[in-house]
Symmetry: D3
Subunit: 168 residues, 6 copies
Amino acid sequence: MAPEELTHLDRHGHVHMVDVTGKPVTRRRARASCRVLMARSTVLGLASRNVGGGDVLEMARIAGIQAAKRTSQLIPLCHPLLLGDVQVRFSVGADHVGVEAEVESVDRTGVEMEALMAAAVAALSVYEACKSLDRSMSVEELCVWEKSGGRSGTWQRTDDGGVVNLRP
Amino acid sequence: MAPEELTHLDRHGHVHMVDVTGKPVTRRRARASCRVLMARSTVLGLASRNVGGGDVLEMARIAGIQAAKRTSQLIPLCHPLLLGDVQVRFSVGADHVGVEAEVESVDRTGVEMEALMAAAVAALSVYEACKSLDRSMSVEELCVWEKSGGRSGTWQRTDDGGVVNLRP
Amino acid sequence: MAPEELTHLDRHGHVHMVDVTGKPVTRRRARASCRVLMARSTVLGLASRNVGGGDVLEMARIAGIQAAKRTSQLIPLCHPLLLGDVQVRFSVGADHVGVEAEVESVDRTGVEMEALMAAAVAALSVYEACKSLDRSMSVEELCVWEKSGGRSGTWQRTDDGGVVNLRP
Amino acid sequence: MAPEELTHLDRHGHVHMVDVTGKPVTRRRARASCRVLMARSTVLGLASRNVGGGDVLEMARIAGIQAAKRTSQLIPLCHPLLLGDVQVRFSVGADHVGVEAEVESVDRTGVEMEALMAAAVAALSVYEACKSLDRSMSVEELCVWEKSGGRSGTWQRTDDGGVVNLRP
Amino acid sequence: MAPEELTHLDRHGHVHMVDVTGKPVTRRRARASCRVLMARSTVLGLASRNVGGGDVLEMARIAGIQAAKRTSQLIPLCHPLLLGDVQVRFSVGADHVGVEAEVESVDRTGVEMEALMAAAVAALSVYEACKSLDRSMSVEELCVWEKSGGRSGTWQRTDDGGVVNLRP
Amino acid sequence: MAPEELTHLDRHGHVHMVDVTGKPVTRRRARASCRVLMARSTVLGLASRNVGGGDVLEMARIAGIQAAKRTSQLIPLCHPLLLGDVQVRFSVGADHVGVEAEVESVDRTGVEMEALMAAAVAALSVYEACKSLDRSMSVEELCVWEKSGGRSGTWQRTDDGGVVNLRP
């Protein structure tokens, strides 16, 4: 199928879940990321508390993992999935904290929403921990970078916002 | 209090909830927003299905409202709150869908995380509905624009990322 | 206010929560009920297992109480409430099990949806326990019988489906 | 097995989950419905707001879909299931709104409770949106109309409340 | 694999879920238990209310079953599982109530955490029901007694706290 | 009221929530604890991974805090509460990890169940992280050590399992 239709609208224009009961069970993986922009002093504040800074990121990691598991309760048309693996990783830049989430499942539908949800909630948990320090923060570039498994094959996002199909 | 400390770290550097039991109950409001960047053809696809496009946004509105109510289950150190009002609004641009969320409560702590969560989950619901059409989408500029009530008074974000205090 | 407007639609026709932050905190109560119609043999099967029949109703009671507490997560525009009391009672008739739920709260908005949700989920729990015995069951007359507290005063439903205002 | 035993009671009369670990994974489907009886003026009020009326039903559709996914958290002895498809449809009559829910899964146990839960919560969401207009509403005839898959084969409810087996 | 590594820490020492997507789906079972120590008069109070005492235990049984289904939402690194069977049993001693929980699943990972969670929440539900009678209660010896299925084979706990491997 | 009745049973012996709508809103606090007994080598394994060991405890801390907020969804007759503060602390002994949880709220009912739930789920999260190392672990002495606020005044548990009233 070419990706050209809003699959969530039936022929009357109403939203509905996409029926996945006829799809094969395959291994699926997705990787998403975002960045929490913040003042340099906020990054320093976060980083200078060695353990503490670590603690904030550990808290955010747990929040992201737990959110991935609840995606189908938050996004109305997502199917419940049995996530087999969720990883949340952080990188600390001069003016931001980077968040990357990777999710794997053996199921009938893809896991990109789970990866996006993990990244978003981890980012908001960092935001929450730093909001007494910095009111200028924002979350940017929340998007999917890679997806594999299922009918749409493997594809990757490129730095210019394009998409490259790696396997059919 | 000047906003200069990571309030979620105790003196051992461990995360903990901020004790709000001594704070007064006041009316609190926050407004947050973000944008879902998408291809122009995706915006047209969404918009051309008159009812359908409406339906996707209605679905996303409900998702955002429900997510606001679940913020304390998603963000580990957020306090449970009795939200008195949640509004989620959309605007459709040439290359994006804008999401704005406004939350009010009469409680002991602020509602900016609830507004951010409503905006984020509404945006991801739009993303999910359009992802069969467009793999290049991203969520951008998820941030708080206005907050009132509580010790920190009323402040607004300015277009250059600064913050203006309106009332002490 | 005369009960003449769909309070959940804003002036653009979109759904939104009703802002209750300006309402006074008062004691509120509501009573709802329904009946699970079933074959006489099903009622006998349920009743003949003395302890067991009791157990099915105890299970359904707990399910109803727990569902009342989750109403705002299930009904999109319901406000989260701090329920102070939930009662679920059963009566067994020749061809049905009757369910009555009563909910009390001290809050800014009414609790009729919580009472309806408790009755509905308790009824469906009875249905679930008996469905291997009887495929003809149905839930009937799920409605509110009495409400007190708040701007609309105290009113009662009458047997002919009308409504009597008891206190302004 | 003839449907003649309360499968949820063990030999001591205590409730317990039915062990489904030995059952085969098959495709299962169920369809349930109910009606929200309301004053004719309420139906007109709902219908006359063209977009708005649509919005109320869209909101209720989302609520029903989300509730189907949460059935095992609400009905104590229901098994968690990976729902592959949930559809919620509405019809508007002179004195009622009809709700029909259809659920599909590939799993070890049936989905009639999920279909009933979707219909019930969608109906209560309509009720909630109209309750400022009409205190006389009630939900009626909440029941299963069709079930297929699993040991009990395919059966349909008939208009007189009987049941017809279509396939063994 | 010898059980000698903290499988939840990656090579950087951060917590992460264990990837189970490569594991085979097998039948898995676990049995856990604990005891609620209480004053003899509390046991008598619980027992003397024939129905009531039964009701408290029925309530606790339902609470334990429901908690087992929510384990992955409570324990951060637990995988979501499709539980096929949950049993919660009680025994009443002179100075305690014993709780035993048994869980079965056909899945890629074990169910001992689900059995522990069922036992713990059932015990705390008994505690809660009796706490107006007795402030001295405690929950003791919450542990796993038997596990089967999966790579670690079948093992049993012995009364002296050791472990016996029954099948490789 | 002397603490001498099972407050959760009505006069028919059925469980029900205790009506708290007539109680005054006061500041309430409770402290509970437990210990996870484990092999000395498990404690060493946990401790020797400096960051890692910290991470496991941070994960367990977050799990405990989140569980405290969900107590009313897990314990059937607990009232929903707006927790104002939750602290989870750990101590590491030669053969155990100690867990202490402290909860504060300004509400109509006490928070000892919330403190117990935080301690229990934090302990089970430690258990889960170490279970690949050690099958002999158990959770012991899960109990309340101190409670203040509300009709029953302030009391403390003593080391011999007794209770001392500190303030009426």
